[in-house]
Symmetry: C2
Subunit: 355 residues, 2 copies
Amino acid sequence: MVSNENIKYINYNELKTFCSELFKSEGIPSEEAEIIADNLVQANLRGVDSHGVSRMPIYMKRLKLGLVNPVCKTKIEKKSVSTAVINGCNSMGAVVGYKAMNYAINEAKEKGIFFVAVNNSNHFGTAAFYAMMALEHNMIGFSTSNAPSSMAPWGGYKPFFGTNPFSFAIPADKRAPIVIDMATSVVARGKIILALKNNKKIPEGWAINKEGEVTTDPREALEGSVLPFAGPKGYSIALLIDVLCGILSGAVYGPHINSLYDNFEEPQNIGHCFAAIDISKLIDPAEFKNKVDKMIEEIKSSPKAKHVEEIYLPGEIEFNTQKERIEKGIPLTIPVIKELKYLGKSYNVNTDLFE
Amino acid sequence: MVSNENIKYINYNELKTFCSELFKSEGIPSEEAEIIADNLVQANLRGVDSHGVSRMPIYMKRLKLGLVNPVCKTKIEKKSVSTAVINGCNSMGAVVGYKAMNYAINEAKEKGIFFVAVNNSNHFGTAAFYAMMALEHNMIGFSTSNAPSSMAPWGGYKPFFGTNPFSFAIPADKRAPIVIDMATSVVARGKIILALKNNKKIPEGWAINKEGEVTTDPREALEGSVLPFAGPKGYSIALLIDVLCGILSGAVYGPHINSLYDNFEEPQNIGHCFAAIDISKLIDPAEFKNKVDKMIEEIKSSPKAKHVEEIYLPGEIEFNTQKERIEKGIPLTIPVIKELKYLGKSYNVNTDLFE
């Protein structure tokens, strides 16, 4: 944990406006700037700081270098009754994802399920952002993305797969929805990037260095390989995601994806997949949501192992954190704030929220 | 590993006929008996002995007790453009699954993707059996099932979820297809059952006893809880599968599913889900399969970590085992053979294949 001296609490709405203004300075239309800012700040609100506003510097740098199209143009390349391939036209990942997920949701209303594969996109933030869009439509949402190489195949040590994350969101009735969002590595690479940014060591078991040995140095870890969760199981899921996002979509996979951080010459050509299932096509949504509530209650009241105070549902901790951070503000570390202030000054965007 | 003195190699075709004959003796129609026998023997061929013919005694017992309908009647309860709910009408899981997956495949030819949720079914064997059915149609196959409680929620010790397995199958061109099949526990409960049957200890980390302590005794483990893989991640996926198979389908979930082994009064009411994606609706299947081949070759030639002789793709070891066992026969342990011979004698089915 970060000590209180090294953090400041920032109002989430002001933070969103600040990010949005920065994006607009790089030619992103207002509505799209808000989507990306919302995507990043939502990650911070939910406690997923590795995918929050600490990404602003790299997003802005790639926009400035013209590596990402500021105005989102997407193109439907192929369509069947219940599937589509969408070309992201090298626009901002968060906007491409938002549009593609909305498309899946709208089509699922008619078809029951709809699956979208996206090529030629960019880093899209947290997967949960898209899966959760399905919730208000009484749908189960799914999203996944590939990412640049950082994880070796099981038995190897040279990065091949990204930490390819995926998310499922399941609506409940009175309880908070169930939101599953995980990287296929032991931890998201973003957590190692954040550790480096905050000068912290990483726990053993997260990553190996480029010689294939376990390391606790985030810099060495980023040069080496993060480890898949559950060994061959995490490896298998990362591979599946790369087949869906990197081959089925017409994008590229693993080692052929350009780095967000190290390649300032070419676009990333990342692929995503999104799906929505309209619950009403299978079961009465009220019955479904009641049963999910009942399941949640049964899990919460399951007898606890020693030293465990509470059993949590996937996404529950994030919802609690969100409630708290909406009230108290988002705790940002000084190094992150420094970078944001620097950006603000460079683009003449008001940085008073950080004072 | 089991020593050579304790095993006999049995021809897979003869074994299939033997199982099929047994099923027919309990009133299962010939064609359906062959599907179930194929399902079990395929598991043995692929080296997944926990899901193979060692299940014959319990399958036969439940049939004999009238807990499962020998003649498979399924009913489409609800249908939308690209989804269906199928009532398995308490028939044999392997036949219900076979029919439901075929339904998904046929519909996906028109729709691009098709999703089937099944209720009122029974133990369906390995998930890979169904996902792999999609391969010859140039489709990506998906299958999953819930199962009786054996795994506590993360932070608890009382079994709630099954070891809910899932499988994805991805066609390749010249290379073997990629077949992912995993339980959401560290290991399949079937491996613990097999350990018990063969009087073996289980490794630490597989399970906890009913007091919540780590155990290496398969009997204690079966009374306690198996552990999810990767802690909260495996727990999240098991939960997701139970929502899909146990709530969305209209079946029941976790603690409400009746045991295969301990409840001889009621049907199981297990739920499954199946999906097929027609690759041609998204990308030229030849291009897709070539790229999968290329990806496989890149992974296979990735530099190996110390002490690693070969990097394997998911399903590759199973394909190698299958090739070997088709030739050499399926190695069955003496305790398993003893049970099969007992069954053969009880039903007047020829047991010469075991001599």
